[in-house]
């Protein structure tokens, strides 16, 4: 008998397995992305790339919360689209399953980033919608269905590559926003980004992060992410990439049962790059035990 297969295809893309490196995790540079792929990730999402180089906030930018979560306010540090495009050009021809995450303050900035990057060889874009809306009223882009629609439309008009809209979990309107993204041309959704949070140090009496507010990732947000994925799966008919707190095979399977066609891992990388192989092995063992032959058979089975 042939063993279960980990291959997945979504939005016209094919991956060796459903695991992905999440944006902003080790993948600041192309060598890091490559290493994730070599270590067993089916694909790797880059750090979010903006128009100009950004240094991000001063340290502390990361703090481990007592609840198994990681709080970060890195501040979207990135080398800017031009330099990242150059870096990508060096791996041209290697057909690496790289997805480029991009951000901007509104449709105009997003478009410019795409214009700079689009001729490079990579599989798809992930649109990071969790940044302040600088071109508009100043709230977070990902909380306003109209702004999301305008961003996705703008990007859609400039590239043929598949688009994944990465959603914020910090709003009660996630379904509405997902619908706006899909209606405007998104091929899939990534759910979710970090949860807004804070840590205060009782000795200094002040917030620990320099930026005060940060995004919570890791264990603490898994069950929150799971609820969002489950809800989106029932309401929106495009593939969903699950993300948030996955650090072992059981978590990955939970997400697929909720409706995720693929699963990103971020904070779990504190275990080292070996985590991709460990999780893939666990999924295969589970599939064998439960007699699933394809990943697709699990997707959404929790409904």
């Amino acid at each position: 008998m042939v063993g279960p297969s980990l291959r997945v295809s979504l939005a016209g893309l094919r991956f060796e397995n459903p695991l992905m490196l999440a944006s902003g995790i080790v993948g600041v540079t192309v060598p890091s992305l490559t290493r994730a792929i070599d270590s067993g990730a089916g694909s790797a999402v880059s750090k979010s790339i903006g128009l100009e180089p950004r240094e991000g906030y001063r340290n502390p930018t990361l703090v481990a919360t007592q609840d198994g979560g990681l709080l970060n306010a890195v501040g979207l540090s990135n080398p800017g689209a031009r330099i990242f495009a150059e870096e990508l050009s060096e791996v041209r021809g290697r057909h690496l399953p790289i997805i480029v995450s991009i951000f901007g303050g509104g449709p105009v900035e997003f478009s410019r980033v795409v214009d700079i990057l689009d001729s490079q060889e990579f599989l798809a874009y992930e649109l990071n919608l969790s940044c302040p809306h600088v071109e508009g009223v100043g709230t977070e882009i990902g909380h306003d269905p109209e702004v999301v629609a305008s961003v996705v439309k703008a990007v859609r008009s400039r590239t043929k590559k598949p688009l994944f809209a990465k959603l914020s979990p910090n709003t009660h309107k996630i379904v509405e926003i997902a619908r706006a993204a899909v209606a405007s041309g998104a091929d899939g959704l990534t759910a979710v980004n970090t949860v807004r949070a804070m840590a205060i140090n009782v000795e200094t009496t002040k917030p620990t992060l320099t930026h005060k507010y940060g995004g919570l990732s890791g264990d603490a947000i898994r069950s929150i992410a799971l609820a969002k994925i489950y809800e989106l799966y029932e309401e929106v008919k495009v593939p969903i990439i699950g993300c948030g707190g996955v650090s072992n095979w059981e978590h990955a399977v939970e997400m697929m049962l909720a409706g995720a066609s693929a699963v990103e891992m971020g904070t779990a990388l504190y275990q080292g790059y070996g985590v991709f192989q460990d999780v893939n092995r666990g999924i295969v063992a589970y599939m064998r035990r439960k007699k699933f032959r394809k990943v697709q058979e699990m997707v959404g089975l929790g409904h």
Binding site: V26, S32, P53, T61, L62, V74, P79, K206
Partner: protein, 261 residues
């Protein structure tokens, strides 16, 4: 958080700041901690001392706001310490040559002590621009045999005149050196790498890069495919082989762009 127990001036710029921390006191030579100077910065520092009673230290040169505040630390001040992190130096009986410059002596001090304890032959070269820039001469003198401690100054104000790399090169050629250990300016370390590889001698260096998380998540500390905080900060010749366009040449700044080291 930890309280500073004392702050000792080492030379005209460098201070050693002591604190109590159980976890850090179980470190191995070459491991580092993330030091948080509240209100200023959080930055990686090699542990320069740690004893079985939990007393630890880092040895700081003021550069930016964080280290600038740290050298002024006073007994009782609160600092954050997390770690120890990273891969330590190899401690075995191979005949060792330690070459350090500036605050690079920090991780080499506990290394020298550990190597001597292990029973190997240990020679140390301390380099500095001028006599007042030398670090840990006294401490190293207590750690290794007098005849195995060598000092160089660029201007010849003390010890051998010249670069520590020159002295090290002749020592590698003359003597039976099993492994070169180094920490200091990256250009010096790169030179030593080239010398060691040519001579067929093992090589380990503790590098420096900007760090945010210290635990292999943020990716800000890359040297090629290596994450310095996890795969290093001590890298050996094998690790470095694929990163010779970076090692001693380029590093990524906070945004991820390459700049000169």
């Amino acid at each position: 958080m930890r309280r500073v127990t004392k702050n000792v001036r080492e030379n005209r710029t460098i201070n050693t700041v002591y604190f109590n921390d159980e976890e850090s006191s179980r470190a191995r030579p070459g491991q580092f901690v993330m030091v948080w100077e509240p209100g200023y910065d959080e930055f990686p520092m090699s542990l320069s001392n740690y004893d079985s009673k939990g007393l630890c230290s880092v040895t700081v040169k003021p550069w930016g706001p964080g280290s600038g505040e740290m050298v002024k630390a006073r007994r009782g001040d609160l600092i954050g310490i997390r770690g120890p992190y990273g891969r330590p130096f190899t401690v075995d009986k191979s005949s060792a040559l330690l070459v350090g410059g500036g605050t690079g002596l920090a991780p080499l001090l506990p290394l020298a002590k550990a190597l001597v304890k292990e029973g190997g032959r240990v020679a140390v070269v301390i380099g500095g621009r001028s006599k007042p820039d030398l670090l840990f001469e006294e401490q190293m003198r207590r750690a290794v045999r007098r005849k195995n401690l060598f000092i160089t100054t660029d201007d010849g104000t003390y010890g051998h005149k010249g670069f520590p790399t020159d002295l090290a090169e002749s020592m590698i050629k003359e003597r039976r050196v099993g492994r070169v250990y180094t920490c200091g300016p990256e250009i010096m370390m790169r030179k030593l790498y080239d010398i060691s590889v040519t001579a067929g001698v093992e090589f380990e260096a503790s590098l420096e890069r900007g760090m945010k998380c210290g635990i292999g998540i943020c990716g800000s500390c890359t040297v090629g495919k290596n994450l310095l905080c996890r795969d290093g900060a001590v890298l050996d010749a094998k690790d470095l082989k694929d990163s010779l366009d970076e090692f001693g040449v380029l590093q990524r700044d906070q945004s991820g762009r390459y700049i000169k080291v």
